[in-house]
């Protein structure tokens, strides 16, 4: 049973792809399909970042190391969906028209912080292998604490793009703060 847990999580993690494929195939993306695709993958990115950050608290709560083996995969899925999110904005919405895009990045704080979060994900994805883990040693852990900053950036990205007080972005922020609180306690006790 244990041997199947990773492939199972992998297949489950692809659900955002199944959903979009189904919606494209059956023409169910709604009146604003481009927006729908961008938002869908944006939200999935945030979900996967939160899932990644849930593994350590779960480990502590359940006192089982099992959870940690999913962390890398979930983190890479977050990067994967963040990349689709960004590419659909750049490619589908703006047709690789870089002038308005650069304008967006510089002028709109939610685009700026979202793009920054994606850039910060790149070194984490590159250094996710066992080989890099061994190579970087202590620095690996330090580097991968960037996840916290990325998560905060991602959450702010969602809040700032909302027109007024929206519930969803606030719920993500609350979950994030809850997950981060586990880390604060951890630092104090050691």
């Amino acid at each position: 049973m244990k041997n199947y847990s990773k492939p199972t999580v992998f297949l489950l993690s692809l659900w955002p792809i199944y959903i979009i494929t189904y919606q494209i195939f059956y023409n169910k993306l709604g009146p604003e399909p481009v927006d729908r695709i961008i938002n869908h993958f944006g939200e999935c990115t945030l979900i996967f970042i939160l899932l990644t950050l849930s593994m350590t608290p779960l480990k502590k709560i359940t006192k089982s190391l099992e959870w940690i083996k999913f962390r890398r995969m979930l983190g890479l899925f977050a990067f994967f969906y963040a990349s689709i999110h960004m590419l659909s904005y750049v490619g589908l919405d703006y047709r690789f028209d870089f002038e308005p895009l650069i304008n967006d990045v510089l002028k709109k704080k939610f685009v700026f912080i979202g793009f920054s979060a994606w850039l910060l994900l790149i070194p984490l994805a590159i250094t996710s292998s066992d080989k890099m883990l061994r190579l970087l040693r202590h620095n690996w852990k330090r580097l991968h604490r960037l996840t916290y900053i990325i998560a905060i950036f991602g959450s702010l990205h969602f809040i700032w793009l909302s027109k007024t007080i929206f519930f969803k972005p606030l719920i993500y922020l609350i979950i994030l703060l809850f997950l981060l609180s586990f880390r604060i306690k951890f630092n104090k006790s050691t």
């Binding site: 494209i24 709604g30 481009v34 927006d35 703006y94 002028k107 793009l161 027109k163 007024t164 007080i165």
Partner: protein, 299 residues
């Protein structure tokens, strides 16, 4: 200019087949249908195919029923629109209270107008209604009146969104008197030849085609003539982002959305954005209202 009712020349089933519309009608009738829309300037290259009834009635910003685009469609089904009265008061000689039946009896016409949302999308909507000036002429506006304020009904029992402080309720919008008297400023009571659906602002709303959609208040119960500029809902929520005028202007960017381009609702994933036009393409009709004004400051 002779005005055809759009519904007279286009059966509804063809309305619904937007894509085959021009093709199926042939170029002759196609040209006739365009010439029958005098309010839309052909030179301005506003697409003339109306958005589908389904998209117009399922994709709405109407925060009284929730902030999701499909919330109004789902939650406004049982909204009470009868009986309904509308008051016109404030700086007027003859304050007036009309029942919705009286409003519906005012001579109306089909008006195919473009809606541009501040979020960067647009629709073409075959509204049914009449110029607001027809109502305002009835009350004899005093010379002290400088602005017109629209107030949406406050009904948190049925409008679940009003239970949360997303905006200051009731929703307030407003226009300068000359904007309100402009013939394009429309009191809307229907669309696609049907009574106005609840999610689109039943039983009556205002529609100002050269301004961003949020200026066009829905489910109105009060029209007040005022001396001072109304404290409008979105300007109140974030004055840096939303101005009182909120004319469609591709040169003034919103902090969240570029206003240079827009996506046309109902187009495929592969359709590109189109350029946003000054005053949403109605510049020939309305630009004179803003002569000598700096529209970058008065956004």
């Amino acid at each position: 200019m002779k005005k055809f009712k759009y519904s007279e020349i286009t059966p509804e089933r063809i309305y619904n087949k937007r894509r085959s519309f021009i093709k199926s009608m042939g170029y002759g009738l196609g040209a006739l249908s365009i010439s029958s829309i005098p309010l839309i300037n052909a030179k301005a290259k506003i697409p003339n195919e109306p958005t589908s009834y389904e998209d117009i009635t399922t994709y709405n910003n109407y925060y009284e029923f929730g902030t999701g685009k499909s919330d109004p469609h789902r939650r406004a089904k049982n909204f009470t629109t009868r009986p309904w009265n509308i008051k016109i008061e404030g700086h007027v000689e003859k304050p007036l209270e009309l029942s919705i039946e009286e409003v519906l009896s005012i001579k109306s016409e089909e008006r195919i107008l473009k809606l541009r949302c501040v979020e960067g999308w647009s629709m073409i909507i075959p509204w049914f209604g009449f110029s607001l000036s027809k109502l305002l002429d009835k009350v004899e506006i005093k010379s002290s009146a400088k602005f017109v304020e629209f107030e949406t009904v406050y009904n948190p029992d049925e409008m679940v969104g009003q239970r949360y402080p997303v905006l200051n309720w009731p929703y307030i919008e407003g226009l300068r008197i000359d904007e309100a008297m402009h013939p394009l400023t429309t009191v809307v009571t229907g669309l696609y030849g049907k009574p106005l659906p609840n999610q689109n602002g039943a039983p009556l709303r205002i529609f100002i085609p050269w301004k961003y959609g949020f200026k066009s208040a829905k489910s109105i119960v009060k029209i007040r003539l005022t001396e001072k500029m109304p404290n409008t809902a979105w300007k109140n929520a974030s004055p840096r982002e939303y101005g009182f005028y909120s004319n469609v202007n591709p040169e003034v960017d919103h902090p969240r959305w570029s206003q240079a381009t827009e996506r046309v609702i109902g187009e495929s994933i592969l359709a590109p954005r189109i350029k946003t036009l000054m005053f949403n393409g109605y510049g020939d009709e309305v630009a004179y209202l803003y002569n000598g004004m700096d529209l970058k400051k008065n956004y």
